[in-house]
Structure formats: structure tokens, C-alpha cells
Amino acid sequence: MIAVLGLVAGVIVGLFVQPSVPPAVVPYLPIAVVAALDAVFGGVRAMLDGIFDDKVFVVSFLSNVVVAALIVFLGDQLGVGSQLSTGVVVVLGIRIFSNAAAIRRHVFRA
């Protein structure tokens, strides 16, 4: 219940508060989205595996976002920002896919 409330509250906050994103942060938003999705899928899979841990979920989410943004920031400073963000997206995308596959196995037994 609280989890659903949190989800709804997050969507509402994002929609209505419309926090003005500083231009310096804008390039990292897509990476943050992919990292967040990775954390959410990982959490769902862990839940289905029966090993969910709330602390791990929150910490992995935060660290995912921060590390992904940091890697891309570093890449920007080195002049390979787009390549590195591609790398981050590929790695996180593969993780999302395999987590989704695990969730699918749990749910559909197939």
C-alpha cells in the first residue's frame, strides 16, 4: 500500500511540481531513467526470488543513478561522453532485459 502510494506520489510530484532541471543535469536524465528502471526491475525480481531487501533496493537505486551519471560526466570531461553513455545504457539495458526475463519465468513459469 505504502509502495503504491509512493509510486503515485512520485509521479504526481514529477508532473505537477515540474522542477526546473538545471541545464547541466539534462544530459544525465536519460541515464538516470535507465538506472532507475534497472533498480526497479532488479527489486521486482528480488521480490519474486524471495530475497527482496528494502535497504538494498534504495541504496542500489541511488548508487546506480549516481554512478551512471558520474561515468557519463567523466566521459564528458574526457570527450567520450556519448560513447560512455552508450556503454552505460547497453549494460543497464542488458540487466533490465535479463531481470525482465527472470520476472517472466517467475510469473508465467516459462
Binding site: 509512493g6 532541471v21 536524465l29 531513467v33 528480488a46 531487501d53 542500489s60
Partner: protein
């Protein structure tokens, strides 16, 4: 390969397994049961939702941003054009003032020479008989197409370019035109006909097809002479080969405006040679040929026309605006 395998195998954060091992419970705990755990899960999901939503909103706003930018650019172009038009009006009124002052300062006799000079150079509006030549792109020429059919090998149609207009205008001068204006832009000796992208610029002002070329000259002689000239032959070729539409018609009365941006920056006239009364730097309106224009004070006929009086441009600029 190892990297990929690792990535595929360890898709789940190892922290979950480690935490479960630490608690010694595997495969039982599904959702947090304590209030603190529920709050943490809710907070994490809220953060994820915020990030995703903000990003979505941002991406959604980016499109109107582009449109806004485009609108702002269009607005700037419109503003600049309006400002240029205003400046042009200022130039015209200032020129009228200068003309009036000149009239006052100069005494009769000299003035007629000045008026005909103005008309010949292009800084004075003129009226007289002449021809109206309307040139348009072929009907099938796309308005925004970037590919020129003439360079891509197709002979079905084409588009009038600046070089074509140059040749046509030069043909008109050659045929005895005394004053020429293209889409309301009076040509002087300093008027460039250039291209910027697909647009033709006359006096650095972009033109929109159809191109209306007004030329003052003998309405009976000028059309035939034009068709015999280089420019006329060239235009015929354009019509036959590329489908350029052109319509040449004689007009009894045409009135051509004065040129706007006519100013000599570096050239200065030589001291008057006695007897002529005209500056020796001959102000010729024709870049290609100077025969049609005779800026002397006497109403001399143009070489191709035998009638002196009707074909000579008369001046209306000073009374305008």
C-alpha cells in the same frame, strides 16, 4: 566474452543475495513487513517515479521548445524585414527632402540635367512606356525542393536562377531599355543580382517568384529587340528546354520606383570638364552595355528607338512621398 557472460549472469544486484544470506532467510521474504521497510520501498519507488516522470516531462517539453525557437526566429525575420521597410521609407522621405532642397538650391537650367541624371542612374523614379516581362518557374517545380532538376539530369522542368535573370536583364538593357526594375527593385549600376540558396536576390533583397521585370523603352521596338538579343534567345531556350514560363507584353505606361541603396562609398567624380555639364564618371544603369542611356541634359533618343520624346523617362521622384 567473459564480460558479457558476467553481465548476463549477474543481472540481479548481488546485494539482495548478500542481505538475504546475512539474515539467513532465503526464498521466504517477499515484501517488507515492517513499517520502516515499507516506507523505504515507497520512498525508493517514489524516487524512481520522480526521475522517470521528470525525464518524460522534459522530453515532452523539448518539442515545443524547438517550435518556440522556430517561432522566435520567424518573428525576428519579420521584425527585421519590418525594420528594413521602415528604414527604406525613411530613405525615401529623406531623399525627397534632399531633392526638394536641391530644387531650391539649384536654379532652373541645371535642374533638368540633374533630373535626367537621376532618372538615368536610377535614383529617381521614372515613368514611361515599356515592356512587362513576367518570368515564373515551371508549374511542376517544387517550392522547397533542394534538388535542382537541371543539375540532376532531368529535363522536365527547372527553376530560374540568378544567372538566368542576369542574362535576361542584360538582354533588356541591350535591347534599349532605359530603366529596369525587378519585382519593384529598381536596378542601378550597383545593383547585384545574386542567389542565396534557392532565392534570387536583387539589391540584396530576396525575391519571390513570379519575377516581374519592368523595362522602360520603346514599346514597339523593345520587345522585338529583346527577343533578338542574347538574353531573349537565352530566355527562349529556358522556355523550350526547362519549362520556364515567360510572358512579354508591351505597356503604355509603366512607373518604376527609385532605387533604394545607391551610395558611392569610394568613387568620387572627377572635376567637371567644361562644356558637358555632366560628371565625367558616366552614370550608366547598364552593367553590360551603356548604349541605351545618355545622361546628357539634351533629350537624346536611345540608339534603338527613333522617337525621342515618348521614350524618355520623366521624373516623378521628387513629388513622391
Amino acid at each position: 566474452m567473459t564480460l558479457l557472460t558476467t553481465m548476463m549472469d549477474q543481472s540481479l544486484d548481488e546485494g539482495y543475495a548478500a542481505a538475504a544470506r546475512a539474515r539467513g532467510e532465503v526464498g521466504r521474504r517477499r515484501l517488507p513487513t515492517t513499517t520502516r521497510g515499507k516506507l523505504l520501498l515507497g520512498a525508493g519507488l517514489a524516487m524512481a517515479a520522480v526521475v522517470v516522470t521528470i525525464s518524460g516531462v522534459n522530453a515532452h517539453d523539448a518539442r515545443p521548445e524547438l517550435a518556440k525557437e522556430h517561432d522566435a526566429l520567424v518573428q525576428r525575420v519579420t521584425d527585421a524585414t519590418a525594420a528594413a521597410d521602415k528604414l527604406q521609407h525613411q530613405v525615401e522621405s529623406a531623399r525627397a527632402q534632399v531633392d526638394a532642397e536641391q530644387q531650391k538650391a539649384l536654379h532652373d537650367g541645371v535642374d533638368s540635367g540633374l533630373a535626367s541624371l537621376d532618372a538615368a542612374v536610377g535614383t529617381g523614379a521614372v515613368t514611361g512606356p515599356g515592356v512587362k516581362l513576367v518570368i515564373d518557374d515551371p508549374a511542376d517545380a517544387g517550392t522547397g525542393g533542394g534538388i535542382d532538376p537541371r543539375t540532376s539530369g532531368g529535363f522536365s522542368g527547372g527553376r530560374l536562377r540568378d544567372r538566368d535573370l542576369q542574362l535576361v536583364v542584360n538582354g533588356l538593357w541591350q535591347a534599349g531599355a532605359e530603366a529596369v526594375a525587378v519585382n519593384g527593385q529598381r536596378l542601378t549600376a550597383l545593383s547585384p543580382i545574386r542567389a542565396a540558396g534557392d532565392a534570387i536576390l536583387v539589391d540584396n533583397r530576396p525575391l519571390v517568384p513570379p519575377y516581374t521585370v519592368l523595362a522602360i523603352g520603346d514599346e514597339k521596338v523593345l520587345p522585338a529587340a529583346f527577343q533578338e538579343s542574347m538574353g531573349g534567345h537565352y530566355l527562349k531556350l529556358l522556355q523550350d528546354s526547362y519549362g520556364i514560363r515567360a510572358n512579354l507584353s508591351g505597356q503604355h505606361a509603366l512607373s518604376l520606383p527609385a532605387a533604394v541603396g545607391f551610395a558611392l562609398r569610394l568613387a568620387s567624380p572627377l572635376p567637371d570638364t567644361p562644356g558637358t555639364g555632366a560628371p565625367s564618371a558616366q552614370p550608366s544603369g547598364a552593367p553590360a552595355t551603356s548604349t541605351p542611356l545618355s545622361p546628357s541634359a539634351s533629350p537624346s533618343p536611345s540608339p534603338t528607338s527613333g522617337t525621342p520624346a515618348p521614350s524618355r523617362p520623366s521624373r516623378t521622384g521628387a513629388s513622391k512621398s
